[in-house]
Symmetry: C3
Subunit: 167 residues, 3 copies
Amino acid sequence: MPSAVYIYGLHGAGEDLRWFKLMSYQQQISVTTKGHGDIHDLTEQVTSVVNASGIQTGTVNVFNVGSTAAIGTIEFEPGLQDDLPAILDNLIPPSRNYGHEQAWHDGNGHSHLQATVLGPSLVVPISDGKLVLGTWQQIFHLECDVRGRERTIVVTVIGDERQSTRN
Amino acid sequence: MPSAVYIYGLHGAGEDLRWFKLMSYQQQISVTTKGHGDIHDLTEQVTSVVNASGIQTGTVNVFNVGSTAAIGTIEFEPGLQDDLPAILDNLIPPSRNYGHEQAWHDGNGHSHLQATVLGPSLVVPISDGKLVLGTWQQIFHLECDVRGRERTIVVTVIGDERQSTRN
Amino acid sequence: MPSAVYIYGLHGAGEDLRWFKLMSYQQQISVTTKGHGDIHDLTEQVTSVVNASGIQTGTVNVFNVGSTAAIGTIEFEPGLQDDLPAILDNLIPPSRNYGHEQAWHDGNGHSHLQATVLGPSLVVPISDGKLVLGTWQQIFHLECDVRGRERTIVVTVIGDERQSTRN
């Protein structure tokens, strides 16, 4: 019977030889939103998932389940927290004229379009076990819908546990 | 000579011990479009590729080859199928004034800009062998070019075949 | 003690049997920008990283570290190199009225918003060891900030070294 050693491999050769273990790790996080324009900083929660994964080098995907909220990066300070939903409302304003409204009358045609243009999915690299983000770059979740929602965000980490060649 | 057992590994320890096999799987799908604003629901085709991969936990990347079409998620209902190309034409209208037009005269400067802003690439998580999407969230392909095109979309699944810890 | 053979595995069975090695590979690239609207073609540098990785089938993530620049794909010709920053300035114009300006007075509120809407992250598939891009589709980096910056871009390749089934 094979033992646990089979999950490890030898990468490279000679002095560059090192162990690695390639893996995936997935966890859901939840956000309760207050309605249109409510923005949350997910960086700490995504960092926790990356830490729990043990993955040192790879990427993490952050994905909003549902068609009326978006994920991205921003400098998460109060000014931009207001500016982002304001510019989206300016470009894609609430209106009863959308085809979506004429069919569904739920007042969130602009929510769908804003969320689609911004996008539900983000991929961030991981290096030495840490998210690689700028000092003033955070991962945000933006509620585009017109009412508060319970949001599920799926965080998937893929990469390996090898130590960097510096170690 | 090593036998097929080497592709399997033991993850975790004790009662949590389980087999997994990390892998990638790639397949191309094709879409025939009718020109500007033609939108297709790719969810079923992407689901087929994920099923064929056998991958249980991971991510799938859906990528449009070419610079004048886009991939994203939307509630795929008739209203929004009209609203999305309409709002893009409103924000980035057809015009002969683009630098691209003055050089190439092919009438699709707005097509390039719309496709670039929306983006050619989407990553969706996979859990228990299924795409994790909201009930009203589908994967779309939007033709931004001014004429019909034969489109190639590359679907790449990365993850592992291990059963969830619940099983 | 296990030997280097443990990193290889046998995939499939019978005549479909073939070797593969799943791995991740990460490298940083640098770009010096001249300020707002400066656009660079990263395709050659990303291709070099993919070549160095030895990965045949998988994906590559290209990520801008920092909140005022963006990554995407475009036909990298002089007309569109001007059109993209121009349309972004048209949609999200420079202004002192942004909340970000009123707090920080650094004149780059629009830079943040443009970069967030366009996004810092791109995933491109790899097939037969090559980026899968259209003939007129290149990977760009767009500086949205108001001054020149030294930019770090993280390139992460995940996939396997197996030969395609055609070989």
